[in-house]
Point group: C2
C-alpha cells in the first residue's frame, strides 16, 4: 500500500515530464482539436442552449421524456446506435459506437436531470431560459444579448441555466469531442458506450443493470460529473463522498403557546434542538458523535503528499466565500474531504419575519446530513447519529409522538431518514485504468492534471459501480463556482471548450 | 414591605369570608344580572359575532376604520358620549358615561385590533367568518350550524374567530354589563371612560396622551386583556411581563456552497447559531446570559405564599400541552412568571422539506425574545444579550456584513432589535385601588378571585400607565386556552357570560 501510494504521489511528476518531452503527435492532435472547437463554438454552445432549455427536474416526467428524445437524436447524429432503456426511475438514454479493432470498451456516464429549482431565487426570469453573461453574476457581470447570433464566445463568459454545468455541459462536450476527432481524422481507440441517467442517484440505473447487462458492461467506467479544480487545471477524481440525510424534529407543546404566559415553564423546542445540535461538534469543529470517524484511519505520508500536491488556494477560496477562516484550522481542504462531514442543511421552527406571533413553537426541525467517505457506510453512520441523539437524553421516534409518548418522555426527537443515502466509493489511483486515464489527459492537455483522491461532489453510483465491476473514474470538467446545487447555476464557457479536449483524450487513449 | 405582602397573601381569605357571610344585596344583584344574561344570550353573542366579522389586522386600515365605526355605534347605543381620537397609529375609540354624584372615574382600556392571521393554518375557511363549535376543536368538537338563529348557548360552546377572545369579547362583555345593570336597576358607582385601542402595544395611545389628557385621566385604570386563570375562577392581575425581540443572524459563506465539496472546511452557520443559542441556557433551563436575572431579587415567604395561593394544576397543563415535565423543575408556573424568560420564537436556515438542495447555507437566523419583568428594563436586557453574543466570540453588526468585515471576523452575528419592546409593569397588590377591585369582584362572584402578581400575557402599556399616573389593574376574563396568538383563536362562551358579571362588579364597586 505504501509503495502504491508513493507511486500515486509521484505519478503526476512522471507524467508531466512525459508530456513536456513533447509528444509531437499529441500536440498536433491537440492543435487540430482546438482549431475545430474555435471554429465551431456557435454550434457547440447552441447545442447546449437547446438542451438546457428543456426543463429537467426529475419529477417532471413529460419534460424528462423530451430531454431523452433530444439526447437520443444528438447521439444518433454522431452515428451512435441508440436506445431508450426504461427503468423503475426515469429512462436511460443509451448509445454505442463500435470501433473496428478496439479491444477495450468505455462506459461513459452522465445524468440529464437537474437539481430542483426555486425560480424566485434566480436572478433570471426562468432557470430554463438560458442567459449569457460576460462573467460572474456575483461580480456584476451583465447579460449579453443576441446569444443565438454570436459566432465567438469568450472563455470567461458564462451561461446561466439549470443544468448548464450539472450535467448537460459534459454531455455536449463529449459529443463535440466525437465530432472534433472525426473532423480532425483522429480515430477512437475504444468502443464507446454512453449511458445518460434520467435521475442521478435514484438507483434506477443500478436496479436496471441485470436487465441491461449486455449494454452496460465495459472495461472502464468514466463519470462526467462535478467541478474541475479551481486552479483551472484538468482534473481527475478517483472517489467521491457519499451521503445520508435525516430530518430531526424536537417537540415542544402540542400547539404553540404564548411565550409570555408559559416562558420558563413550557419547554422551547428550538432551544432543545440548538442544544442537541451543539452537542454534536466541539469548539474545533470535530464531530463528537461516537464512532463518527471510525474506519477512516490516519493517512500515510505518501497519501498526505498526494493531497498536498493539489494546488488549492485557501486564501482565494476564503475571499470568494467571504469567510475569515476555515471551520477546522488543522485540516487543508483536501484533508477535510477525506473525512466524513456533518452538515446542518436547514433549520426551521416557528416563523421568522413579519409580525410573527408571540409563541413558544410546537416543534423545531433540522435537516442533518453526513457526507460519507468510502470507509463510513451509511447505515452504520445513521445508527451512530441516532445513538448520539439518544445519549443526549432524547427518546427517539420515527413518526409523530402520541399523547402517551409525550407524557412519558421529557425529550422526544423524531428522526426520519431521507431515502437518498448513498455510499462513498473510491477506485485505487494506481489501478492500471486510473493510470491510463491520467496519462491520456496529461498527454492531450500538455500539463499534469490535478489528481483528487476523494471528491466532495455527490456521485451516488456505488451500487451500480459495484454491480458493473469495472474501475470507475470521474472526469470533472466544469467550473467549480457553478452554483450547481443552488440558484443561478452557470457554466464558464472556457471550461466547456477545455472539457472537449479532456474527453477527446480519453476517447483516444 | 413584609407587612404589605403578608396582607396581600391574606387578602383572598379575608375577602372570601366577607363574601360567604352572605352579602344579601350582592347576591340579589348577581342573581338579577345572571337572569339578564341568560335571557339575552342571543343578543350578546350576536353583537360579538358582528364585531369579529370585521377583519382587524392592525395594518388593514380600511377595516380598522370599520371596526372603529361599529364600536362607536355600540358605545352610543349605551348612551356614551363618543369620539374617534386620532393618533400616530390606528385611531382610538373613546366613550364616556358620566354618573351623577360619582367622585371616581374609571378608565377602561381594551384593544380592538387582532393578531396577524395565517388563514391557511386555520381549520375554518376564514378567521373573520366566525364558527360556533360544541367544544374545543382539539377535542374534536363539531361545528354547530344556525349560529344566528340560536337562543340558548351552552357555556362550553366556543366561538372560533380572530379576536373572539383577544380582545373583542371583553368589549362586548363590558357593554353587556352596562345593559344588564341598567335593566336590573343597579346604578354605576363611577364615571366610566372607555378607550378602545386600534393597535395594542404600538404606543399610539401613549404618544397621544398629552393631546387627550382631559379625556384619558382617571383614578383607576382597568385593562381588559388576557386569559382568566385556567381554574375558571375570576382573576385579577396586578402586573404583566414586558417584552423585547431581536433577530440574530449568523453567517456562513456569502452564497450557499455544496456541502460535499466544502463540508468540514466552510463554516456552517446553522451549527454556529445552534452553539450560540445553546450557550444561553444551562441544563436546568437557567439563562446563562450575564446579569439576566439582575434586580429580580428573592421573593419573601409572603410573596411566595401569594404565588402558592394560585390554584394552578401543573399536571392538567402538562397533559393539555403534551409535555412530560416543565422546563425548570425548581419553579412553579407562578414562580416562573416572576422571572424574565428567554424564548426562541423562530429558527430559519436553508430550506427544510421537499428536495432541498445540498448545501451549507449562507446564514442562519433566530428570532430571540425576552419576556421581561418590571425589574428588568428592555434596553439593559438587550445590551446583556449582545454582550453574551460578543462573549461567545462573535463580532456584532447591525446590518449585512461587508467583504472587509467578513474577511476579518470568523464569527459574525447580525443583531437587529425589533421595534416593539415594552417594559413590564406592576401595581402593588395592596394599593387601595387594587384592594377595592379585589373586594368588588369577590362580592359579586361569591368566591375569592385568583390574584396574579405578574401575568404572562403581553399588555404593553407601561408608557401610557406611567404618563397617566393612576394605578392599573388587569381584569382577564377569557378562557386561557383561547389560542389568541396562534391560529384557531376561540372564546368559551361561559367565560363571556361570567366576564359580564366581573365587569358589572367593577362598574358598581
Amino acid at each position: 500500500m505504501t509503495t502504491r501510494w508513493r507511486r500515486a504521489a509521484g505519478i503526476s511528476l512522471v507524467l508531466a515530464s512525459t508530456a513536456w518531452q513533447a509528444d509531437a503527435l499529441a500536440q498536433d492532435g491537440r492543435a487540430a482539436l482546438e482549431r475545430y472547437v474555435a471554429s465551431h463554438q456557435r454550434a457547440i454552445v447552441l447545442e447546449l442552449v437547446d438542451l438546457v432549455s428543456i426543463p429537467n427536474t426529475a419529477a417532471d416526467s413529460d419534460n424528462i421524456r423530451r430531454n431523452a428524445a433530444l439526447l437520443r437524436d444528438m447521439l444518433r447524429r454522431r452515428s451512435f446506435t441508440t436506445e431508450i432503456l426504461e427503468t423503475d426511475s426515469n429512462p436511460l438514454v443509451w448509445g454505442e459506437l463500435r470501433v473496428p479493432g478496439a479491444t477495450r470498451t468505455l462506459l461513459i456516464w452522465a445524468h440529464y436531470d437537474g437539481q430542483p429549482v426555486d425560480p424566485k431565487a434566480w436572478r433570471q426570469a426562468n432557470p430554463f431560459n438560458p442567459v449569457l453573461r460576460a462573467g460572474r453574476l456575483e461580480d456584476g457581470a451583465k447579460e449579453l444579448s443576441g446569444l443565438r447570433s454570436l459566432d465567438k464566445f469568450d472563455p470567461n463568459w458564462r451561461l446561466y441555466a439549470r443544468s448548464a454545468s450539472d450535467d448537460k455541459a459534459p454531455i455536449v462536450a463529449l459529443l463535440a469531442a466525437v465530432d472534433a476527432l472525426k473532423a480532425s481524422g483522429m480515430a477512437l481507440s475504444s468502443n464507446v458506450r454512453v449511458v445518460l441517467d434520467g435521475e442521478a442517484g435514484a438507483g434506477g440505473l443500478a436496479a436496471a443493470f441485470p436487465k441491461y447487462r449486455d449494454k452496460l458492461t465495459a472495461n472502464v467506467m468514466l463519470l462526467l460529473e462535478g467541478p474541475a479544480h479551481p486552479s483551472g487545471r484538468p482534473t481527475i477524481a478517483f472517489g467521491v463522498r457519499g451521503y445520508l440525510a435525516m430530518d430531526v424534529t424536537v417537540y415542544g407543546p402540542k400547539v404553540a403557546v404564548n411565550s409570555g404566559n408559559y416562558g420558563n415553564w413550557v419547554p422551547n423546542p428550538a432551544l432543545g434542538l440548538a442544544r442537541l445540535l451543539a452537542s454534536m461538534k466541539d469548539d474545533e469543529g470535530r464531530v463528537l458523535v461516537d464512532g463518527f470517524y471510525d474506519g477512516v484511519g490516519t493517512l500515510t505520508a505518501e497519501e498526505q503528499a498526494m493531497l498536498a500536491a493539489v494546488p488549492d488556494e485557501p486564501a482565494s477560496l476564503m475571499k470568494l466565500f467571504g469567510i475569515a477562516a476555515p471551520v477546522r484550522s488543522d485540516l487543508s481542504l483536501q484533508q477535510a474531504l477525506q473525512l466524513p462531514a456533518l452538515n446542518i442543511r436547514a433549520l426551521s421552527s416557528g416563523v421568522i419575519g413579519g409580525d410573527a406571533t408571540l409563541v413558544i413553537p410546537d416543534r423545531a426541525t433540522a435537516l442533518l446530513e453526513v457526507r460519507l467517505v468510502k470507509e463510513t457506510p451509511a447505515k452504520a453512520m445513521a445508527d451512530k447519529l441516532m445513538a448520539h441523539i439518544g445519549a443526549q437524553g432524547y427518546h427517539i421516534v420515527h413518526s409523530e409522538p402520541d399523547d402517551d409518548t409525550r407524557s412519558r418522555y421529557p425529550h422526544i426527537a423524531k428522526v426520519v431518514l431521507r431515502g437518498t443515502a448513498g455510499a462513498g466509493w473510491r477506485t485505487p489511483p494506481l489501478a492500471p485504468e486510473a493510470q491510463m486515464v491520467t496519462a491520456a489527459v496529461t498527454r492531450m492537455l500538455g500539463e499534469p492534471p490535478v489528481l483528487i483522491r476523494t471528491m466532495g461532489q455527490r456521485v451516488n453510483m456505488a451500487p451500480f459501480i459495484e454491480a458493473m465491476g469495472a474501475p470507475a473514474i470521474v472526469l470533472p470538467t466544469v467550473n467549480f463556482d457553478n452554483n450547481q446545487t443552488a440558484e443561478n447555476e452557470n457554466l464558464r464557457l472556457g471550461h466547456l471548450f477545455t472539457g472537449i479536449l479532456t474527453l477527446a483524450a480519453v476517447l483516444t487513449m
